[in-house]
């Protein structure tokens, strides 16, 4: 093999820089085909993938940003709502306190008026009873006076001693009688 090659080389010692048409054309054709295939099937897909990735990343960032903004807005809203609710609670408490005070005042007033009404009623009743007592007393005193007068007139009234006896007896009668009659 070695000697065969050497013989072959000896027969036409080729200049390594020599031009070989077949190889030149073949290299052009093969490269051309490869370039066509790469340009048609490979680079567009790589570029598309890069583009999609860029879009995806940018889209993701944008989405995250909008989510963040949304969350911030939500938080602000909730805080506002919370403040509102606190305010409302305070207002309701204040109102309740006012209402309570009002109710207490009303109650007190009512109780006062009731008490005074009861007192009034009592007074009226007492007055009426007194009136009744006075009336009956007056009638009784009249009767008693009449009977006393009759007794005084019935006895001789010339003697002071007797007179006073009569009166004392009368009074004693009166006391015992009124003791039963007054009640």
């Amino acid at each position: 093999m070695k000697s065969m090659l050497i013989v072959a080389a000896a027969e036409h010692e080729e200049n390594p820089l020599g031009f070989v048409w077949v190889e030149f054309v073949l290299a052009l054709v093969v490269f051309g085909i490869l370039l066509f295939l790469i340009g048609k099937f490979v680079t567009p897909r790589f570029e598309q993938t890069y583009h999609e990735r860029t879009t995806a990343i940018e889209g993701g960032l944008a989405a995250a940003e909008s989510k963040q903004a949304e969350a911030d807005a939500k938080l602000a809203e909730l805080e506002a709502q919370l403040a509102d609710a606190r305010h409302e609670a305070a207002r309701i408490r204040e109102e309740a306190r006012e209402q309570g005070a009002q109710i207490v005042a009303e109650m007190r007033e009512q109780a006062q008026s009731e008490a005074s009404r009861i007192v009034e009623h009592g007074k009226a009743q007492i007055e009426a009873e007194r009136q009744q007592a006075v009336t009956s007393l007056r009638a009784e005193v009249g009767g008693l006076a009449t009977s006393l007068a009759g007794r005084i007139v019935g006895e001789s009234l010339d003697d002071d001693a007797r007179q006073s006896r009569v009166v004392e007896r009368f009074l004693a009668d009166l006391e015992t009688g009124s003791g039963a009659g007054a009640n």
Binding site: S3, L5, E14, F24, I38, T49
Partner: protein, 261 residues
């Protein structure tokens, strides 16, 4: 070294040379190993990227991540950083294809059994350089018009008028004529030299052991160990050359598109 002399003295060490790159066709068909490797590289590059991005998701899997890292390296650190903001997108397919096609073809030089850097065949490197030349000039002419483009490429701004007769041919020479040549030769020569170096250490080691004897038994394995080290160096060179080739393409495109010199 005269190859005839080698045949006569088969015992003498025959250094690897250009003839090692002139491989016979398979089954006398004219289809040579570099040709097969060229097609294989294209198939591998396309298969890798196609599978990586076939089911693209926002959150990439392992293969997609690898594909995106590879694609993104050329797209961002070569195309975008050099060509710039608004123009770079339409050159991304070209630069990605170029980088990975050249890279895989170069790495074939270090892959067991394949072990041949395709662009050690100069004509294949010429093809890529020619394509680059056509492309950047076409882009420049389309952007600035023929005269505008020639002016952009050959008349440096901020130079006094009397210097122009000297500078214009020089600029034309360097920007229009020499670029494709250096582009092709840089790639070809690196691959060619690297492969020869590996061959030299590998066959040299074998020769030392087989034919020298004595010290050869010690020196041969040393050569092989060194060939491994050089293999790693070659992987670096192979990557670097693919990168430089693509980087220069991007710079030429940028230069053709630029508004000011």
């Amino acid at each position: 070294m005269n190859p005839l002399a080698m045949v006569v003295k088969a015992d003498e060490f025959e250094a690897p040379g250009p003839s090692n790159f002139d491989l016979p066709g398979f089954f006398d068909s004219g289809v040579t190993k570099p040709m097969v490797l060229l097609v294989l590289a294209a198939a591998l590059v396309f298969a890798f990227f196609y599978l990586a991005i076939r089911r693209a998701t926002i959150v990439p899997g392992r293969l997609q991540y690898a594909g995106e890292s590879a694609y993104g390296m050329v797209r961002n650190s070569i195309a975008r950083d050099i060509i710039g903001g608004h123009d770079f997108r339409k050159f991304v397919p070209y630069l990605v294809t170029l980088f990975f096609f050249v890279l895989v073809n170069n790495l074939f030089g270090s892959i067991p059994f394949l072990q041949f850097p395709t662009f050690a065949r100069a004509s294949m490197a010429y093809a890529l350089a020619a394509m680059s030349w056509v492309l950047y000039n076409a882009v420049g002419i389309k952007r600035h018009g023929l005269v505008g483009y020639l002016k952009l490429q050959t008349v440096p701004s901020g130079v006094q008028a009397f210097m122009l007769p000297l500078l214009v041919p020089l600029e034309f020479f360097s920007n229009i004529l020499v670029r494709p040549v250096t582009l092709a030769l840089r790639l070809f020569a690196n691959m060619f030299a690297g492969h020869i170096l590996l061959l030299l250490f590998a066959t040299g080691g074998l020769y030392l052991i087989q034919h020298v004897g004595g010290i050869g038994y010690a020196a041969g394995p040393v050569a092989w160990v060194l060939s491994i080290a050089i293999g790693f160096l070659e992987i670096l060179v192979q990557f670097l050359q693919a990168y430089v080739f693509t980087l220069l393409n991007a710079m030429y495109l940028q230069g053709a598109l630029a508004d000011e010199h």
